[in-house]
């Protein structure tokens, strides 16, 4: 229940340290840092910078999952907001671009929230609609091309630096603090957890569960839109076919690695972001290792399995159960 110092984050922190150590072994310069054009430069910074989109997605996703929902459309929302940002970047100022892109995310979130909270659709089906249609909408906006732009303001959002730290990382950090302050600084987090734990009981106890569900999907949409703008700013173009592709799965994985149950009822923002960092630390390590790319997914699966087993209380008790079984047989 703590906002910034998680009690139950030991397994995740341990996993991160182990993966960092492995990265150091496969790539001796992993912890080297230097300044390049006023920006910190090194593999650690890459991990933070490349982990930003999934970290942002997981910030919204963790709240949705806490209400016992799921949002499969975040990757598509990234594509839509990126497409809008890139199309407007060279003709409008940054405030307009951001307002339009984030506004689109908000509308997408409202749509998902409406389907789930008002029409009572199952979240996985409701958000599947936008997952499929959203990428089509993005392709319509870009007309199937990669829309490039050169607006220095938007490019700064992807490639600039604040006190040496890449701007995307600073944004993700800001969003983490903002989200944390809102949901943990008030009773909101508790109400979200109550909604996920038992919606009917919460409703009877006077929790506005419908409003809770609607607002978490909206927030998820806004976070996804922000991730989409950053992804577009990073490559100075909107690639509607590929932006955010399959990232919804990485975001869900980050939340799960962060120890949040898909059955809802409790969540940790910090651990979800830590989960995103664990995924990216592993990805960057794989890229640095020089193994043939055919092994990428296999390595990833094995590491994820190991991290999840590490968290499983049953797994640590498995040895005991096996011993007991043997005793009964004998």
């Amino acid at each position: 229940m703590t906002a910034l110092l998680p009690r139950r984050g030991l397994a995740q922190i341990l996993a991160l340290i182990v993966i960092l150590a492995v990265d150091r072994v496969v790539s001796p310069q992993f912890f080297d840092l230097r300044l390049q054009d006023g920006r910190l430069f090194g593999s650690l910074i890459d991990v933070l910078n490349r982990g930003t989109p999934v970290a942002l997605l997981s910030l919204g996703m963790v709240l949705v999952i806490a209400t016992r929902g799921i949002d499969l459309s975040v990757g598509a929302i990234m594509a839509i907001s990126g497409a809008i940002a890139a199309s407007l970047a060279d003709s409008h100022g940054l405030p307009v671009v951001l307002a339009a892109a984030l506004g689109a995310g908000l509308v997408c979130g409202l749509w998902n929230g409406f389907l789930v909270a008002v029409l009572g659709m199952q979240p996985i089906v409701a958000t599947l609609i936008l997952m499929v249609a959203g990428r089509g909408i993005a392709q319509l906006i870009t007309e199937g091309r990669i829309v490039t732009f050169s607006s220095p303001d938007l490019v700064w959002l992807g490639n600039g630096a604040i006190l040496g730290l890449p701007v995307p990382v600073a944004i993700a950090l800001g969003m983490l603090i903002l989200t944390g302050a809102v949901v943990r600084g008030s009773a909101l987090g508790l109400l979200i957890e109550a909604t996920g734990g038992n919606a009917r009981a919460s409703e009877l106890a006077g929790v506005g569960t419908r409003a809770m569900i609607l607002s978490v999907y909206v927030w998820c949409g806004v976070c996804a839109a922000l991730a989409g703008v950053i992804a577009a700013a990073d490559i100075m173009g909107a690639d509607a076919n590929n932006a955010g592709l399959w990232l919804e799965l990485d975001a869900i994985l980050a939340v799960v690695i962060g120890g949040t149950s898909l059955f809802g009822g409790r969540f940790s923002l910090v651990l979800a972001v830590l989960g995103a960092l664990i995924i990216q630390t592993m990805n960057t390590g794989i890229l640095l290792s020089g193994y043939p790319p055919e092994f990428n997914l296999l390595v990833k699966a094995v590491v994820v399995l190991a991290v999840l087993l590490l968290q499983s209380p049953k797994f640590s008790g498995l040895a005991g159960i096996a011993a007991r079984l043997r005793r009964t047989k004998a």
């Binding site: 790539s27 310069q29 992993f30 080297d32 390049q36 054009d37 920006r39 430069f41 090194g42 593999s43 890459d46 490349r50 392709q139 007309e143 199937g144 091309r145 990669i146 490039t148 490639n159 992804a231 990073d234 490559i235 100075m236 173009g237 690639d239 076919n241 590929n242 932006a243 960057t284 890229l287 640095l288 020089g290 043939p292 790319p293 055919e294 990428n296």
Partner: protein, 321 residues
């Protein structure tokens, strides 16, 4: 005007209108996959241009990436009794029955850009495709020639793991540089054919190779990954095109923009003009009965900074890439 005179006048007018239309050659149905990529969009617009150039009436049916739509389109082309059918097959199997129908209707079918499985070879007239192994070879040969006798460590951005184009472009490049002991691929990783992954992978290559100082050249299986890699090099304080040579494949407009800025060195074209050779083959087949070879290979043209990249960029950017 009497009814009789009116009829005569109308008939004459109709005849006058109909005659040149009859003389204006062929009607060809083209079942296009859909708008899966910028290259595909460019192929569609170039096909239209080539048809207009030859005064051919080209009917394009967009299949939205679905085979059943393509089969429907081919059936409707057969019903309209077109002179020939172009097909860019979305998958390589399952065409036998519809192609048999076309064969029975004596309508020749030309495959564009992709081939179908071997059992159906007698069911189409010819296939116009690029040889992706050859594309890799052209890229490798250019690099070998440019580097000369210097030792050169190459990093490779592969396409999607499992894609045949990626495997072929890798094979061709490897064959070309195998003849030169001074050229060596030191790192190779997939960038999934996208800009974002190309950039991310290049960032890691730069870190792993001592800040990029030991890298002499980058080879990317497509231009989009190279555009991402160029950004990664610039952000690391390196000068792509000068410190590190670049060679990639596809020849999309944005790589010419980079080339014009001196940040890219070479690209091998996967031409979007598959319809041009196909139209020529059909014209020869219809006029003189010349049966084309089963495979018409398109040219894999190499472009470098010497080819006025700005001009090529301007000519290509309107094609819908």
């Amino acid at each position: 005007m009497t009814p009789k005179a009116l009829f005569a006048a109308t008939a004459t007018a109709a005849l006058l209108l109909a005659l040149p239309a009859k003389a204006a050659d062929l009607t060809i149905g083209f079942s296009q996959i859909g708008s899966e990529s910028g290259w595909r969009a460019a192929e569609t617009s170039v096909s239209k241009q080539e048809a207009t150039k030859r005064k051919v009436n080209l009917k394009i049916a967009d299949a939205q990436q679905k085979q059943e739509n393509q089969i429907k389109a081919i059936r409707s082309f057969i019903a309209q009794n077109v002179d020939a059918i172009f097909l860019a097959p979305v998958v390589s199997t399952g065409w036998d029955s519809v192609l048999k129908e076309a064969k029975e209707a004596k309508i020749p079918v030309v495959l564009l850009d992709r081939d179908i499985d071997p059992s159906g070879k007698e069911l189409y007239l010819t296939a116009v495709t690029s040889d992706s192994v050859h594309e890799g070879e052209v890229a490798g040969d250019w690099l070998a020639k440019t580097v000369g006798n210097k030792a050169c460590s190459i990093v490779e951005l592969q396409g999607t793991v499992g894609a045949s184009v990626a495997a072929n472009r890798k094979k061709g490049f490897d064959t070309a540089i195998a003849k030169h002991a001074n050229l060596k691929v030191v790192r190779s990783q997939t960038g999934d054919f996208t800009r974002a992954k190309g950039k991310e992978v290049m960032e890691s290559f730069i870190k792993a190779e001592g800040g990029g100082k030991s890298i002499c050249a980058v080879y990317a299986h497509n231009d989009d990954m190279m555009v991402g890699a160029i950004q990664a090099m610039k952000e690391a304080g390196l000068k792509p095109g000068k410190d590190i040579l670049t060679v990639s494949i596809d020849a999309v407009p944005d790589i010419f923009k980079a080339m014009a800025a001196g940040e890219a060195n070479a690209t091998v074209e996967l031409t979007p003009n598959m319809a041009g050779p196909a139209l020529d083959a059909i014209a020869a087949f219809k006029d003189k009965g010349t049966v084309p070879p089963k495979w018409i290979q398109t040219e894999s043209k190499l472009y470098t900074a010497a080819d006025d990249p700005q001009k090529i960029y301007d000519s290509k950017k309107g094609l819908g890439y």
